[in-house]
Symmetry: C2
Subunit: 241 residues, 2 copies
């Protein structure tokens, strides 16, 4: 059995033997495409979407669980992933969606199942190069696709609030370190990085002050000029390891 | 029974009936005194200290639990309290300290007790006016006292790391909003606020630029001049609700 098959089997069986109780993880996986910041969502019902997420094995750290969930969803490892907030309202449970899923799969369902309990969810956000990600749905969902954060479909539970908090956390973190490069291919130009920052902050940023600030971090290495650009040839940069 | 008596009775009895599993809260309660940033600690053993913390009732939100824990420890309500990080390593358990406590109290102890499980802990930091707080120990501890963050005693488990993360989170938050005033009495002077910020950031800050920046937030209201100050009389300020 693959790690994911083990996971699903544990989930549909006696979850309490394998997973921590009352704790789940939700991942806000962000990508950037066509000047738009996008988030990866799973379609669970005809009109209801949710964030990729999952549970924590008893012998696994929270960070390991988040990496596993991310890899299972987009087939990428070693992705920038950061905890940003915990969601702890008393009414957090997916029991009606789970009842429907178990019914569909023919798995025995009772209200007492481990999976119906209240879950406190730890939110992680991830920054990925959208061109490298290979999204795939999980057993709860029919499809898995990218959505502009400006135009989200109807989301289950508190998942809209989770996305808003993630974006706020990302904007904040971006003030301390130019993390945004994780959303671009490994080589990029300053105009591309500038466009990305303008999208994230939803405002225009002075181009030359932006470039000066980015270079002042001392973490971007200048490479050759970009080829195939007509009138102006901007330099390519990459982040130093 | 008071809320705290109920809490202790549940803790020493069948915890799994009352509390969420695998989830605890740790609070980093910060105060400011004699130009020093201090943290409230509980002395559990002769040389071992820990942060105030506790568990989450099944019908309670995380934030409500953190407020309850805080009020129980320092007898103050409506205190600035903010979640900053979750600690999720697989080896987080206090089972040896708990075995000693149960032994002392004559409560039956087995390894299978709810309280011996792995706990993922949600860290909250609180900012209090140290003069208003009335610290008291809990059943796990002999005393409860303030310690300069620059000179911490030996801490159990990962509590030193929790304090460091809290200080980092507070410094970061302070860049977005002048939260530091929560550590001062309700009326304070700009030199007092300036001294506090210098302590938190561990560096000197230009006095006039500091004052200009603080006033630019538009959240501090100027009151009368401070009485009883010899040669110079600085204005008092307070934070607008």
């Amino acid at each position: 059995m693959s790690k994911n098959e083990q996971y699903i089997s544990a989930l549909l069986g006696e979850g309490e033997k394998h997973f921590l109780s009352n704790i789940s993880i939700d991942t806000v996986i962000l990508g950037y495409e066509e000047n738009s910041l996008k988030v990866l969502l799973l379609r669970v019902t005809e009109g209801g979407w949710m964030l990729p997420g999952g549970y924590v094995f008893k012998n696994e750290s929270l960070d390991e669980a988040a990496s596993r969930i991310l890899e299972e969803r987009i087939a990428l490892r070693d992705i920038f992933l950061k905890q940003f907030h915990v969601f702890g309202e008393p009414d957090r449970s997916f029991s009606s969606e789970i009842a429907a899923l178990f019914g569909k799969l023919g798995a025995p369902w009772t209200q007492n199942l481990w999976i119906n309990q209240r879950f406190i969810s730890v939110g992680y956000y991830a920054l990925v190069d959208i061109a490298r990600a290979a999204p795939r749905p999980n057993i709860f969902s029919k499809s898995c696709s990218w959505h502009p954060v400006e135009a989200l479909p109807a989301l289950l539970l508190d998942h809209k609030e989770i996305i808003e908090k993630a974006l706020h956390g990302f904007q904040n973190d971006l003030q301390n370190y130019p993390l945004g490069f994780h959303l671009l291919p490994s080589m990029f130009t300053m105009p591309e990085l500038h466009g990305l920052f303008e999208t994230v902050y939803r405002k225009s940023l002075d181009r030359s002050r932006f470039q000066k600030k980015m270079l002042s971090y001392g973490v971007f290495e200048r490479l050759e000029k970009k080829k195939g650009v007509a009138h102006r040839s901007p330099f390519l940069y990459r982040h130093r390891e």
